[in-house]
Symmetry: C2
Subunit: 248 residues, 2 copies
DNA sequence: CTTGTCAAAGTGGTAATACCACGGTATGAA
DNA sequence: TTCATACCGTGGTATTACCACTTTGACAAG
C-alpha cells in the first residue's frame, strides 16, 4: 500500500481499506481539519461495521504518516501538516541512493532562484523585517561555522517564506536536514579565507537590498554569485592583488 | 509520532513502541534489506512477547510509510525506498494548505530550469534517446488533452532524469501528482487555440535540440517560453494577423 | 521422467470478548 | 473558591476462533 492516502483502494477492498478510505475522505473533503478529534474507536467500529482492531490498524497507519496523533485516554486528533516530518524520511531515502550532500546544492539553487524572484514581487514589510532580523543573526554568528551555518540557513528560509509559495516552501522543508548539513560544510570550507566574514555579511545584505528594491534580475545574479561564494571571493582577492603593487 | 522511523521512541514504551523500535533497528542496521521477508506475525508476537494485534498495528504503520509491503498469504516484505510513494502524501499535505494547483508551477519552473542546465552538461546518448522517444509520444498524443498531458509530463520527467541529480529527481517525484494535474489543466486550457498542436510539438523538439547541442542558455530561454506557452502563442498569432490582411 | 492437479500447511484479515491504563470532568468536602 | 477523589470515556492489549489467500508437496497421469 505505502503512503496511499490519496490513492484508490483495491477493488477487493478489505475492511482496513474501506476504513482508511472513509477517514481519508473526511480529511480531503475538509470535514476534518487540524485539531479536530476523530470519533472514538468503538464508535467508528460500530458505524463502519468492522471490529475495533481494524480501526486501530488504520489509526496507527495514519499516525505513522503524521496525519493524526493518537492520545491515550483522549482520542485521535488531526494534526496540522508538517513538512518537516517528511525531512527525516526524505533524508533517509536519499541517503540510500548514495552521496547526495553535494547534489543537494542543485535543489537549493533551483528552489532559491525561483523563490527570490517571487520574493521580489511578493515580499511584505513583515517579510523584509524578518529578513533584516535574519541578517542580524548572520552577522553576529559569522565567526562560528556551526551556529553561523544555522543562521545562514535561516536567512535563506526567510527568503523562501517571503516568496509566499507553499509548494516551494514545502520542498525546502523536505530537504532541510540535508541543507543544514550543506550550509555547515560550506561554512567550514571557506572559513579560512581572509576577510570572508565581512564579505559574507555584505553579500547577504545586498541580497536583502535587492529584494527590498524589487529587483529580480539583480537578486538572481547576486544569488548565483552567492552559490559560488568561495570561488568568487578568491577571484576578487586575486583581482585586488593585481591592482595594488606590493608595498614592501 | 509521525513518520518517525529515524526517531527515538517515547521512554514509557508501549508494546507498540517496542515492536516498532525492534523492526526499525533491523531495517536501519542492514539486517533486513529490500526484498527480505519479515518473520510471520504469530512468530514475531511470540518472540517479542506481545499479542498479534499489536504486531499487526506495527506492520500497518510500516506499510503506511512505504517501508514494507504486506502480502496476504505470503508475509510482509521490505520495500525499496520509492519517492513516488511520497507523492500522494505530499499532495494531501499541500492540499490542506489551500489552493496549490497554480502554485505548483513555481516548483516546476524551479526544478526544470536547474535540471535542464544540468541536462545540457550531463545528458548521455541514452538520455537523448529517451527524450526522443518521449517527444514521439508527445507528438502522437497531442490531440488528446488527457493522454497528451501525461505524455507532456513524461517528456519533462525525461529531462529531469537527464540531469542526473537524485535530489532534483526526488523532489520532482514528490510533486508528480500535482504536476500531472497541472499538465492536464494547461492542456485543456490551450486546446482550443488554432495551430497549437504543431506549436507544442515543435517547441518540445526545440527543447530537445538545445539539450543535444549542450546550449544551456538557449535551453533555459526556451523553457521559460514553454512555461508561458498559452500567452506566447496568442502573442504570435496576433503578430501573424497584423502582418497578413484578411483575404475575404 | 515430466507435468498438472489438488489438498494441506502456513500466512494474513477479521470478529468478539475481556480487562487494564490513562486523561478529563464532575462532585463533594474543606 | 480550591483541592482531592471518584467516575466515565477513551485508548492499549490479550486471547480465542474462524475465514481468505498463497505456497508447497504429494500423487496421478501421460
Amino acid at each position: 500500500m505505502g503512503a496511499g492516502l490519496t490513492r484508490e483502494p483495491a477493488d477487493a477492498a478489505t475492511g482496513y481499506d474501506q476504513v482508511f478510505a472513509f477517514v481519508r475522505e473526511q480529511l480531503l473533503s475538509g470535514q476534518m481539519k487540524a485539531g479536530d478529534r476523530l470519533l472514538p474507536e468503538r464508535e467508528l467500529a460500530t458505524r463502519l461495521g468492522v471490529s475495533r482492531p481494524v480501526i486501530r490498524e488504520v489509526l496507527r497507519a495514519l499516525a505513522a504518516i503524521g496525519v493524526i496523533e493518537i492520545r491515550h485516554g483522549y482520542g485521535s486528533v488531526v494534526r496540522r501538516p508538517d513538512f518537516a516530518e517528511l525531512g527525516d524520511l526524505f533524508t533517509m531515502m536519499l541517503a540510500q541512493q548514495g552521496e547526495v550532500v553535494e547534489d543537494v546544492m542543485e535543489a537549493r539553487i533551483a528552489i532559491e532562484r525561483q523563490a527570490i524572484r517571487l520574493a521580489c514581487a511578493r515580499a511584505t514589510s513583515s517579510d523584509l523585517a524578518a529578513l533584516g532580523e535574519a541578517l542580524r543573526r548572520v552577522e553576529e554568528t559569522v565567526k562560528d561555522p556551526q551556529i553561523g551555518g544555522d543562521a545562514d540557513f535561516d536567512f535563506h528560509a526567510a527568503l523562501i517564506a517571503a516568496a509566499h509559495s507553499p509548494t516551494l516552501a514545502s520542498l525546502h522543508a523536505a530537504i532541510a536536514v540535508l541543507l543544514k548539513r550543506s550550509h555547515l560544510e560550506r561554512r567550514e570550507r571557506i572559513t579560512s579565507l581572509d576577510g570572508i566574514e565581512t564579505y559574507l555579511v555584505e553579500h547577504h545584505r545586498e541580497l536583502l537590498a535587492a529584494v527590498a528594491a524589487r529587483d529580480a534580475d539583480s537578486a538572481d545574479r547576486l544569488l548565483m554569485q552567492h552559490f559560488a561564494i568561495g570561488t568568487e571571493y578568491q577571484r576578487r582577492a586575486a583581482a585586488e592583488r593585481d591592482r595594488s603593487p606590493p608595498t614592501s
